[in-house]
């Protein structure tokens, strides 16, 4: 080694040590790399249905997004975000909601976005899709006669588009794969 080489050699050594350390840590913890899932719903029944899907998220990092801050206790210690409540009747509220959802999706950068409705889920699927996430929409079991408005609109942005009523399933989607009950 000539004297002038020392910075490059040092850098190379450091890099190798760090790389080996990172590799050992990964093997030692025997952990598969985890996906980031953003699970989204509005309040009440939508939230209760989302919680019943939790076994499907096991092994991945789940981040929750809903409208009622007191629901945090249901999902401790997972990261938890809230946005304002808004429905189709409140246009200004919907715009604020959309911006809030955009902000959360950009912060979390999920690989998967899943929602049981309604408005926050629709926006999350659209933004998620835009940022390269795979998306799941499960229409609420409350919609037994026709798909919800948000469910119909979300269909275009859902990679997995599901209804909970067999008679509402169609060949072009949504599909039926079971219920939250």
């Amino acid at each position: 080694m000539i004297v002038g080489d020392w910075p490059a050699v040092t850098v190379a050594r450091c890099w190798r040590v760090m790389h080996v350390r990172w590799w050992i840590r990964r093997v030692a913890s025997n952990r598969k790399p985890r996906r980031k899932i953003l699970a989204v719903s509005s309040g009440g029944g939508h939230w209760v249905q989302l919680l019943r899907l939790r076994p499907a998220f096991e092994g991945d990092d789940v981040h929750y997004l809903t409208v009622n801050p007191s629901n945090r206790a249901d999902v401790v210690p997972h990261p938890f975000f809230t946005v304002r409540h808004a429905s189709r009747w409140n246009k200004f509220g919907l715009i604020v909601l959309a911006v809030q959802v955009l902000w959360v999706v950009m912060r979390v950068r999920p690989q998967v976005v899943v929602s049981t409705g309604a408005a926050p889920g629709y926006f999350a699927l659209r933004v998620g899709k835009l940022l390269g996430a795979r998306t799941i929409w499960l229409d609420s079991i409350a919609n037994a006669e026709e798909l919800s408005l948000s469910g119909r609109l979300a269909g275009k942005y859902a990679d997995l588009w599901l209804t909970q009523w067999p008679h509402l399933a169609k060949t072009e989607g949504p599909k039926f794969a079971g219920t939250v009950l």
Binding site: G45, R54, P55, S70, V112, I136, T179, V180
Partner: protein
Amino acid sequence: MIFVTVGSQIPFDRLIRGVDDWAGSRGYTDVYAQIGPSDLKPKHIQWSQFIEPDEFQRRVAEAKAVVAHVGMGTIITALELGTPILVMPRKATLGEATSEHQLATAKHLIEHSRVTLAVDEHDLVEKLDHIDSLAAGGTLGSQASPTLVDAIRGFIDEVPNGY
């Protein structure tokens, strides 16, 4: 105690008034009602406009029966905790809901699970008179049907994890 609940978004005075009048006429006052953003002041029963999720859980668990609108959060909680539940659908034509879906939901649900339906306030009185014999919802587990969990898990497993 009977626990009455209508959710937090829209009042459902037809249900609350129905239960309150029934409680008064039968002298059955062991009733607690969560009435939502309503101006109604029930006379014969205890009530509040809103309650927190943990109190909601506790009241459903301790009640001998739940009387509610067709809200899936309430129905699923009652089924999970094994408390019998009687539901009355909201009507959009009366300004009680933004769509007419609750009757259809209730009709489909009673085929699939142990939910009792009161179609209107007259039927409600009839069903309340027999509330002691209301069948419990049985034991609904805490998670979605295995086929649904598998479908969603399978989809997620196909997604690259970003590392």
